[in-house]
Amino acid sequence: MTATATTPRVPVSRDPRVSRLTRVTGSPVLRLIVKRLLMAVPIMLGVTILTFWVLSLIPGNAAEQLLGAEATPEDVALLERQLGLDQPGVVRYLEWLQGAVTGDLGNSIVSRQPVSDVLADRLPVTGELVLLAFLISLVLAIPVALLAAHKPGGIMDRISMVVSTLGLSVANYVLALILVLVFAVTLGWLPAIGYVPLEDGLWANLEAMILPSAAIGFPLFCFYTRFLRGDLVDQMQQEEYVTTARAKGVGSWSVLIKHAFRNSSFGLITVVGLNLGALIGGTVIIEQIFALPGIGQMLLQAINTRDFVVVQAAVVIFALVAVVANLVVDLLYAVLDPRIRYGSR
């Protein structure tokens, strides 16, 4: 009997995720990063041009907003000239772009503050909100999905199904109001609105952030629970490696956690990454409700005052986050999934 050493190596790339990286030769990770960053350029251009154009369609400009309703047309015209708003849109956009590519996002038209300073103040607030929302949703979703998937159709599965259906059908601003009503107004456990910076104490900061993060995190929790539960059940019922594990004598919980969850986690990472873009959008309304001085609140105010420089900054940040999130998901895959990690040798 000849040894199998002579058997030709059969590359396995049934998994569609594999081909993405294995097709490129050389250092796949580096290639991926460069490719994504290059792809980001047209995305950024498109998004900012679109924003600029849409803003120009809204009646009124920053000069009118600044001077108020009583201002004379002469005053408005003067201020427009001072602010450079009398220039054609294309010129203004190109000027802004010229600054932006060199890292200078300009000054707010309304407050004259450098936009980078504004962002430095506001990014941490939104960042914390998003991070806490993810934390809450994942920390709850993983164990609940595991419990539900352990016995499909069982009591835990049914409860989680009902809860997640409810959670997904309630808009997050409605949920925010319910949370405020219950935990702030009725029980008085947590403040209803307002922001406390981290410097004023971790607990005070968290107290202020719990309700808004929960309002964002709860629908996410419902979504992840559903997704993960479904994927786990699929793995458990359809995947042969699960049968192998059971045939080894591995207990049902171990099969679920050590084998199925390990494989399901890749799907979960993708979903979480893709979610990030939508999640950032959700912060706009929540920051407004809870009076949190984040990017979302900044965006709304800037739209009201027609402060296109600030609006552009917010849009650039949101788009960047989406691009980077996708990149990070793919990199995580490359690091975590052995089929990709070793696939391109």
Partner: protein, 370 residues
């Protein structure tokens, strides 16, 4: 666990397992085996498995009976859908909870149907192990080969981490995986199909099984690799003294390796005999049809062809009497009665009223000849 386990062994693959697995074998309480001399290791009697799918009852296994002697290799063959996998998974307690199981499966005198999950789990991967059809899907793609074997080792021994590691490498050498130490740290996708199936066998051997079920274990492999894996199984079976059930749709493969053959049709055994006997005197028309379907040398290997005209049986609406009747060229009105599986000739059982080439005397159900 015998201390000799981790002792260094002579280099060279053939000698590897001598003194590695054999002592453990010998260390197994011998009286249990000696006392059970002549007693079959597995006795399946009237096994039925029913699924409900879309409101319809699917009778996947319909009164299957067979016996398996310890230390022998038996083949279960039959067309796809005849209940081979379902019946063997019933033996392992691997069927989904939706399956309704009745009848009896005795393993070493112990009834397995209705056995508590805790006891069943001890048997699984311990006394009874299984190798599956598709080695590309049967291994966890996200776990290293070594981890998947040591997991099995540790479940069925009290070896510590290092001991389990050593044992896993031994097992990989036992199944002749080239460069076992290196492969230990690799992932399944880095191995060829044949190597993966060797890993699957190593996992199966981790609990020193007395029964190994190989469910179409070579079907997904190319012809050369198929032969290598089959030879490995036969060699291991003889060396380790375990019983093997090889499940296949390929009668030719069964004929080359198994000592005993059970032919299944529509979820029951329709003919059973030692391989030599069976091939010298095929009795059941369905077996006959299968035999006629063995690929000739001028045929493409693994080419598809009709086993026998007619549809495979609808497991939700089996015909009255003999399930093969709608496709059988010998069918008469007698066949409206189900023919029992009877030992018509020594060691040769079949379920048919009009066996092929057995002469007119065989037309009765209890025609004990000779």
């Amino acid at each position: 666990m015998s201390g000799e386990r981790t002792v260094a062994y002579p280099a060279g693959d053939t000698l590897v397992s001598e003194g590695v697995i054999a002592p453990a074998r010998a260390g197994r309480p011998a009286p249990a085996r000696a006392g059970a001399a002549g007693e079959p290791l597995v006795v399946v009697e009237g096994l039925r498995v029913q699924f409900t799918r879309g409101g319809r009852k699917v009778n996947a296994v319909n009164g299957l009976s067979y016996r398996l002697e310890p230390g022998t290799m038996m083949a279960i063959i039959g067309e796809s859908g005849s209940g081979k996998s379902v019946s063997s998974r019933a033996l392992m307690g691997l069927l989904p909870p939706t399956a309704k199981i009745s009848g009896s499966i005795r393993f070493d005198g112990r009834e397995l149907i209705g056995l508590p999950e805790k006891d069943m789990r001890e048997l699984r991967g311990g006394d009874i192990a299984m190798v599956f059809q598709d080695p590309a899907r049967s291994l966890n793609p996200t776990m290293k080969i070594g981890a998947q074997i040591t997991e099995a080792v540790r479940l069925h021994s009290d070896l510590d981490k290092r001991g389990a590691h050593a044992r896993a490498v031994e097992l990989l050498k036992l199944v002749r995986l080239p460069a076992a130490e290196r492969r230990f740290h690799e992932y399944p996708h880095q191995l060829s199909g044949g190597m993966r199936q060797r890993v699957m066998i190593a996992i199966a051997l981790a609990g020193e099984p007395r029964l190994l079920i190989a469910d179409e274990a070579t079907t997904a492999l190319d012809v050369t690799t198929q032969a290598q894996i089959m030879e490995l199984l036969v060699e291991l079976q003889q060396r380790l003294g375990m019983a093997v059930i090889m499940i296949s749709h390929d009668l030719g493969l069964a004929a080359s390796y198994a000592q005993h053959v059970v032919v299944m049709y529509a979820g029951r055994a329709v003919e059973q005999a030692p391989t030599q006997t069976l091939f010298a005197n095929v009795r059941m028309p369905y077996t006959h049809a299968l035999l006629g379907a063995i690929p000739a040398l001028d045929r493409e290997p693994h080419s598809l062809f009709d086993v026998t005209p007619g549809q495979p049986p609808d497991l939700s609406a089996l015909p009255k009497g003999c399930p093969f009747r709608p496709r059988c060229q010998y069918a008469t009105d007698t066949c409206l009665q189900a023919p029992p599986l009877t030992e018509h000739e020594p060691e040769h059982l079949w379920a048919c009223w009009h066996p092929v080439g057995a002469g007119a005397g065989h037309n009765s159900a209890n025609g004990e000849q000779r």
